[in-house]
């Protein structure tokens, strides 16, 4: 247990020292505030409070930012130590590989959680102050923060996987960029294309929602949208959410971090320092 904490503490120190924590938090605050003010126009027409609209905009933001911020820390986690020659030394100490990976994961997740909570929290507070908030929109905000952290956890684990598989940190960075593009952009484009080709056939009605929810980024979106009527209205995405049972999106978003971590652990086992 002390070994696990030792790794976590050192990783936290690194994130603070190299300004990652500061920069990530700043990015989150700025983007969330910008979206909150820019997205405050339709409040009157939809009949929902400003915080609800703000949460809907920030959901879209988080789909892009949470995976990106997570991959920015995690790609270096194993490949960087291999490059520096310090992995062999680290592994010559009595800490196991699982312990090392879990220690890094804990530190990185804590940093992400901090950035998310401060960023979305600030924007939420501002929106509530200027445009009012109800119990429902406050729950939506809490849900947004929690699911964003989960989404970050998915991409942290996937980043470790790539970091263990890649030859060197530069290659890992490249693979991470590719992974981000596939999950966040290309996957949806591909699905959109399939739906257009299918013209409301069986694929669109029964297969498509499941394929969609299998992607953690889309599961994140669906979870946030399906749970709050107001957010769904504000984001204009209700169709796909209604076709699935309520547990589908949460299940996907909860299984992915575990699956990713198991895969990363298996890949790390095969790394020869």
């Amino acid at each position: 247990m002390t070994r696990f904490f030792a790794i976590t503490r050192a990783e936290m120190l690194i994130l603070r020292r190299n300004r990652w924590l500061l920069v990530a938090t700043l990015i989150m605050v700025l983007f969330a505030l910008a979206l909150t003010f820019a997205g405050s126009a339709p409040t009157g027409t939809l009949g929902v409070d400003m915080l609800t609209v703000s949460v809907a905009s920030m959901t879209t933001l988080s789909v892009y930012l949470a995976p990106l911020l997570a991959l920015m820390i995690s790609f270096d986690a194993i490949a960087g130590d291999v490059d520096r020659g310090s992995l062999a030394l680290l592994l010559s100490y009595p800490a196991g590989r699982g312990e090392i990976l879990l220690g890094k994961f804990t530190a990185h997740l804590a940093a992400l959680a901090f950035a998310m909570t401060v960023g979305f929290g600030t924007a939420g507070a501002v929106a509530a102050w200027f445009g009012g908030a109800g119990p429902e929109s406050l729950t939506a905000l809490a849900r947004l923060i929690l699911t964003s952290i989960l989404l970050g956890a998915v991409f942290l684990a996937l980043g470790y996987l790539l970091s263990a598989l890649a030859r060197g940190a530069t290659a890992a960075a490249g693979l991470s960029a590719g992974l981000w593009l596939v999950f966040v952009v290309l996957y949806d484009l591909g699905l959109l294309g399939a739906v257009v080709m299918d013209q409301s056939g069986t694929f669109t009605r029964s297969v498509f929602p499941w394929v969609m929810v299998a992607n953690p980024a889309d599961a994140f979106r669906l979870w946030n949208i399906a749970a709050t009527e107001g957010v769904a209205m504000a984001s204009g995405m209700t169709g796909a959410a209604q076709a699935l049972p309520a547990w589908a999106a949460p299940a996907s978003l909860l299984i992915w971090p575990v699956l990713g971590f198991v895969l990363a652990r298996a890949a790390f086992r095969r790394v020869e320092p």
Partner: protein, 297 residues
Amino acid sequence: MTDKALTIRHVCKDRGKTRVLSDIDLTLAPGERVALLGHNGAGKSTLIKSILGLIPVESGTIRVGDAVPGSASARRDTAYLPEAVSFHPALTGREQLTLFARLSGERADVPALLDRVGLSDALDRRIGTYSKGMRQRLGLAQVLLGRPKVALLDEPTSGLDPISRQDLYAIIDELAGQGTAVLIASHALTEVEARTDRIAILRKGVKVADDTLANLSELAGLPIKLRVRASENADALAAELGGSRVNGASVELLCSPADKMEALRRIAAMGEAVADVEMAPPKLEDLYRHYAREALQ
């Protein structure tokens, strides 16, 4: 139970189709300092990583004390200094060493350890600002954590200036003095010459020699080199002594250790014709060349 700190028996290791370690036998007693010599790619680092349990071997056994490499107790009992090690540039020397101390489960006096390797001024500076030699010394400081049974040093002198090399060997002696068996992999032959109890030579994954320096010299039967400087006529001197002329004024001749005194007497008998005599016993470099070549045939 074994009284050896490190036992290696019939270890073989393949990389693809090439055999990188072939039937290696090596034992280290507590407090013994052994140099592991070989060219780049001779298998030194591979052997060290096998001892650490970082890479699996095809056959043979390795034991640290009685423990299997990679086991919790073997990891506790080994200290390792990787070749040209680097650390995360964002941490300070103190933070990095504290991490290692916590990982090893030792209560260590981190400032004292860093002082021991001459880094007390750089204690709270980021490792990113360290020179190569300073990083190497930080690596050495973590070797001193706890009381390892075996210390494995991979090219410990690379990047060190002559003065810190002296410090390095003082630290190695200190480790040996507390009962740690020290294995030093190196290709800087002249440095390990006087500083180790035993020398093992690896050549393309095969151990070609393993003995004390004196025994190795005797076994090799390498000649002693005598360089005689003539006062006037070097050609006449060469004809008289039977050696070869190396430059305008000097003659070089080789003789076996047994014939050394006889040769010196002959030179002394030539009186005024000789201006100076230099005698060079075989160096580790010559020995190394001898054993490496012998294996080739």
